[in-house]
Symmetry: C2
Subunit: 265 residues, 2 copies
């Protein structure tokens, strides 16, 4: 998503050019390209698929909507398996229209995980609940903290449900370091993502993530927390940023690699 | 601030007209009008000043800037005392330019409170630390949760330093109800403010607070938490909202009273 202006073949080439060994893919471009074709493309290039983003949106109260969401998540699991990644990132979903019931929405996520986790496990895919910044709690993700994500995940086996640790969403939270330790001790850090926090936030706040090093987040410190918790998997950089998307994708990728080395290694 | 389009005399009239018995004032209009004159105006109208907003911005590392901030906060205390309110709301301040050190910034707030709290107490004024929504952590307030605010406040006597509970900032936080109980048990709920959460957020995210009943917050539930914690003081409605500010202030005040009755009582 950081370089969504690149087509999948361009992305694969650019990763090779920049020395990037793995990539988190998003469902929409994969489906447009064709899941099988995308899987072959990355496999032939020797590029690892670190995660598939994203499943989720599991908070509907309407039975039909809920059934469609579960079907869609099973498809996402199938796509993840086809791409050869073991991790599907979940953005849990916001409040249904008119609802003020955060607790109920979180419980519906738990119910949905109960259906999806075994299905995913049979296909070698783990679900990674991503807490999103509290500014998304109403309209995108009612899971706002690592503690909430772990409270959900821990109802299931660790090899079925874990969490996504993304610095953009948790950097403000002084309790997050000990939640990372909790997640690590339980084997539930399923992926680790970096983005920086910059202000002012744009209208709608979705596409204002900062390039590494531009903002308030001590990326190296957070890498230290996940590594101290035993995480040794891939580190993803996920930037939703209109400014970066308007530029040449290869240049953005090369810059991001340089920023990663300067600010996170 | 909810009806900042009204001058202080207009505000006083509109409160009388709408049956509003008390008002939280902001420093800027009070200083423009004259502190003594403003105090006389509200006193003569029989209108209580519930709080003065706001002191704070205590995170500077530069010694001169820090000294200026402390001076300014002492002035704010003096103004609160002159207005006859016992509560000064504090917005703690964001990260200094280029800093990524949230912990250090929070400790500088504690140091500043150590200087300001006795000064305020001598004048009959309590300091009320307001946690702001985590989306403000970088540029406005490094205190993002009630737990963080209480961790700071509890270093001081309860009649000197407490917290502001504002639904807009904490509604997403499933640990906030027990932090309200903690605050109430310690006698540290110094004011309670209402605003609703609506999306999409506007650019800069400051002026997007929702009119009561328009959004995702169960206001009655939160009023229940503070009352169960022993709070029986004023309830303030604080809406930063460009749409409301563009309308007739008396009409907005009357609407807000009606919304309060419909959604919070």
């Amino acid at each position: 998503m950081t370089v969504k202006q690149l087509s999948l073949p361009e992305l694969v080439d650019a990763c090779a050019e920049s020395g990037v060994p793995g990539v988190g893919l998003w469902r929409e471009p994969v489906r447009s390209y064709g899941v099988g074709a995308a899987a072959k493309l990355v496999r032939d290039a020797g590029l690892a698929v670190t995660t598939l983003c994203r499943g989720g949106f599991l908070t509907a109260t309407d039975p039909d909507e809920r059934a469609r969401s579960l079907d869609d998540n099973r498809e996402a699991v199938d796509e993840a398996a086809a791409l050869g990644t073991d991790t599907l990132v979940l953005v849990s979903g916001g409040l249904p229209a008119g609802s003020k019931d955060l607790h109920g929405a979180r419980e519906r996520i738990a119910d949905a995980l109960g259906e999806l986790a075994p299905y995913a496990a049979e296909r070698g895919v783990r679900l990674a609940i991503e807490p999103l910044h509290p500014m998304f709690a109403a309209d995108r993700c009612v899971v706002s903290t690592l503690a909430q994500a772990l409270d959900l995940a821990e109802r299931f086996p660790a090899d079925q449900v874990g969490v996504t640790v993304d610095t953009y969403h948790i950097w403000w939270d002084d309790t997050a370091p000990r939640q990372i330790a909790r997640a690590g001790a339980g084997g539930r850090i399923h992926t680790f993502q970096l983005a920086d926090w910059v202000t002012p936030l744009p209208e709608g706040v979705l596409n204002g993530r900062g390039q590494l090093g531009d903002g308030a987040v001590d990326l190296r410190e957070w890498r230290g927390y996940v590594e101290a918790a035993g995480y040794s998997g891939p580190i993803e950089v996920e930037l939703f940023n209109d400014g970066l998307w308007a530029r040449d994708g290869r240049e953005v990728l090369a810059e991001t690699v340089a920023r990663f080395v300067a600010h996170a290694l």
